[in-house]
Symmetry: C2
């Protein structure tokens, strides 16, 4: 009668990262403030206990999700660097990359979620800064540190607006603005 279900195969490393991914997804959908152990566990298809085993506290679980998102973007940026270096018209290519980036709103949302969370919680600041410095570091060699910072700020603002209004961005206008910011 009391049939014993067998445990699943062991793979701690896979579980850890499955939880990080699930945490990231829940944050993107519900926001940092409404992210819970149970939602993440359900999303990952794991029992509740698994979350507290790998991440002692909820803050750890959330930080893992945000870190995963930041790392993922960092990987994307390698492709950005490549394409920007190869492009004949850098501002136009940057606009195209931004358009492609905006296609996945879920992904974009979580980056801004990270910023707002970091603005409130200093512990998250290193993660957020890693993200924020990614693109400026790529642009700085070719346009200078100041212009790199300004261009990124412009993009961040444009993306934020697109996120809120759910509209597409004005590609030619953006390319033009980027061009103006280059010394």
């Amino acid at each position: 009668m009391t049939e014993r279900r067998t445990q699943r195969a062991r793979d701690p490393q896979a579980r850890r990262s499955a939880l990080a991914v699930a945490s990231m997804e829940v944050i993107a959908e519900a926001g940092v403030g409404r992210t819970t152990h149970r939602a993440v566990a359900a999303r990952a298809g794991l029992p509740l206990g698994a979350t507290t085993y790998y991440f002692p506290t909820l803050d750890d679980l959330i930080a893992a999700g945000l870190r995963h998102a930041a790392d993922q973007l960092r990987t994307d940026l390698d492709e950005w660097a490549q394409r920007l270096a190869d492009a004949p018209d850098m501002p136009a290519e940057l606009t195209t990359l931004t358009e492609e980036y905006l296609a996945d709103r879920q992904q974009v949302r979580i980056e801004y979620e990270l910023c707002v969370a970091a603005a409130r919680d200093a512990a998250l600041r290193p993660i957020a800064e890693t993200w924020m410095d990614g693109l400026p570091d790529i642009l700085a060699p070719s346009v200078g540190a100041a212009a790199a910072r300004d261009i990124c700020a412009l993009l961040d603002g444009i993306i934020l607006r697109a996120l809120v209004t759910e509209t597409d961005l004005d590609a030619t206008g953006l390319t033009d603005a980027i061009r103006r910011l280059i010394p």
Copy 2:
């Protein structure tokens, strides 16, 4: 023994706005996702029941807080419009205004909280758009719609960075960047 405490003086309108203010403050401190009836009631010095009487659901209470913040900024913008119109050097004045705006991080934080919340919840979008269109509407007559949009995006991005890194902004660099974006 059973001494009856008298109710407080009635002033529904004052209560409504006290709750909206308290809601705004709690959102700024804890974030939209961690805002609760009880926290808002405590902050307003009112009993729990008052929150549900004036705002049937939690979403209503939060929306009221965000709307209050947006309205407050809208009022600030009237002063911006005045000072920008009077200033001999518009870009420099805009930089100064931004610096002053950044002095109250609490206030700034809630604006971005509003954006992120609006990106997730379409019901908040009108409130966020009211905020986002405020400054562009002021700048457009003098620099054109496109430049107004770009300058605001630049400012939004610069402010976001300052919020995350807790650093002051580079005033001369910002003024220069604004100047570049004007046709």
